[in-house]
Symmetry: C2
Subunit: 359 residues, 2 copies
């Protein structure tokens, strides 16, 4: 596991480190340099980096493809996001989408655009994180593109995965009376970001301050080094449960529930008291005077899996500490509601983090 | 075919056009809005846009994957690149990599990052070009990501293709005595760029000037609306020729020959007098006082295919107007040489356009 170090610009600004200009290697040299130690883990990877395209051979399987674009200043802030963590997280958010289909991620392509403020060592650190994620999740790096940008860093990753046709779980297949289940707990990643942004403001006022993150380790780790729930896909297979619908939680619980309901033409009752929260989430919400339910609904970046199962599968998941039933699906006419601790029904709206409004 | 219109900022700056803020639609609304008319062309596309990942089903075929990242200010200049052309070209450069494997492109994902200087109409125009390219090349748009950028426009495309295992052509399988063949002609795209940049400078001095591009139509079209050589992959199949090695010409002939030679451990003699050039290339090189051979070697962006064939296949391609034999492969010890019109041998170096140095 990566240590959680808060760099606060150290990596970029430390003038004592060795620097190698990216242009010394050239584009092809850079790609080769960065990817030479990646290796190949899948028999299906016939050809990885080094030709016009990667070649994958997969029989009797369906192929899954997903892609994400991460932009400096929009999706991440390098003043508290170490590049190694960023590389790791960029892979995580992509393979998470493959797991959300109940598939297994097998390959990724990674494209980056970097301005010349980044030395080779910075890009290497980014790729260290990408490499670690490849090993952790068992995916092969099979291609990519490296170019310059006029400003900042940008990462585009495409993940490819596979699954048996009958195992793939879509968003649009939830049924009324299905149970709504979430893995792990929610809201920690968003609060981790709030903590880091507070420390950044403190640092900007007093650059000699050292942040004390002892009380926020779980939150900060969920923000800086989230994990995709490959383990939950494996757990569901071991429990012999195929969800009726599934999605990963990238934009916030509210937004993801609405995706499932809209695409499946069903309603939902979500129970506030059932939403799983870590004790650090509860204490930090009190400290920041935030409502933990609002954060769980709208915070985003949890990368937990949200899925529906038919009621007859309930005994298989009952009591499992990783899985929490947080509601049930209904007829579409019921609408999509939060049932509060006080028993009130409140219509859910997509307050999820919106990339286009976040600018 | 798209008309060649030189917009010179018109699209971005024309205040009379209707504007819709991107944030009005939100990210999901925008993706849906932009992709709703794309449709599905391949039986292998089980699920396109709208879930966590696309699902492809392909039996008895190898899968090809390639990706490219295009950055405003590095790869394109919107003052003379209309957005519709840009969208078209972004697809072309990706599917070109699939054809360079002797495969057929089947799906693409498209991710874009846009600053809020772009109204919806601009993004729509970009997607019109993407859509046209999808239809022209018979590929399905199966996913993507849309986000904001702090500055400028960025496009990341991943193309997926398929081919029978025995038909795939790599870069590292050329043999001594193989013939070196190129499709179409070279150097036009680079010269088109020079013409457009000259017109831009004229426009900056006198915004009322109207560029006269009558003498440069072929060059400008090769720059603004290049085509990938799917037709050549089909022609090779019809001629029953499987190249021994193949690559597409994105960075310049010199760089691509060196890729084949380095990866195949062979040498090459390239004959200057054989390099195919359009008459507009020759006349414009004279006008700009440029050496046409240098431009063909280093210009880039031609997106023609460069391949090697065994000598016994020569009768199959002999006299074909689309294919020109420009040299032959040798033992590695011979090195990689340009044989000039005067009979001199000059060692080839990778002077191809380098994305990282171009900044």
């Amino acid at each position: 596991m990566l240590p959680i170090n808060i760099y606060l610009c150290k990596m970029i600004e430390d003038k004592n480190e060795t620097r190698t200009s990216l242009s010394e290697l050239g584009e092809f040299g850079l790609i080769k340099h960065l990817t030479q130690n990646f290796g190949i883990q899948h028999k299906s990877t016939i050809k990885g980096v080094g030709d016009d395209a990667a070649v994958l051979e997969i029989k009797d399987k369906n192929i899954l493809v997903t892609t994400d674009l991460l932009v400096e200043g929009v999706h991440f802030d390098l003043s508290y996001m170490p590049l190694k963590h960023l590389g790791y997280k960029a892979v995580v958010v992509n393979v998470s989408d493959i797991y959300a289909m109940n598939g297994i991620a097998t390959q990724i392509t990674v494209s980056i655009a970097v301005s010349n403020r980044f030395p080779l060592e910075a890009v290497e650190e980014l790729y260290e994180g990408i490499h670690l994620a490849c090993k952790t999740y068992g995916v092969d790096l099979v291609g990519g593109d490296t170019t310059s940008s006029t400003r900042g860093l940008l990462i585009s990753i495409t993940a490819i995965g596979e699954a048996k046709k009958e195992d793939i779980v879509y968003r649009n297949t939830a049924k009324p009376n299905d149970l709504l289940v979430v893995t792990g707990d929610l809201a920690a990643a968003y609060l981790g970001l709030q903590v880091l942004e507070r420390e950044k403001r403190v640092f900007e006022v007093n650059p000699n301050s050292q942040p004390d993150l002892t009380n926020y380790t779980y939150l900060v780790e969920k923000q800086l080094k989230p994990e995709a729930r490959k383990d939950m896909v494996e757990l569901l297979a071991a429990l012999d449960v195929i969800p009726t619908a599934m999605i990963d939680i990238s934009d916030g619980l509210s937004s993801e529930i609405l995706h499932i309901c809209t695409q499946s033409n069903v309603g939902c009752n979500l129970y506030e008291e059932k939403i799983p929260l870590d004790p650090q989430v509860i204490s930090t919400c009190e400290e920041f005077d935030l409502n933990s339910t609002t954060i769980a609904l709208s915070g985003g970046e949890d990368y937990e899996l949200l899925f529906t199962i038919s009621q007859e599968d309930f005994p298989k998941i009952k009591g499992n500490p990783h899985l929490t039933v947080i509601g049930h699906m209904t007829d579409e006419s019921n609408g999509v509601n939060l049932v509060t601790r006080a028993g009130q029904q409140i219509k859910l709206t997509a307050q999820g983090w919106n990339a286009l409004l976040n600018k």
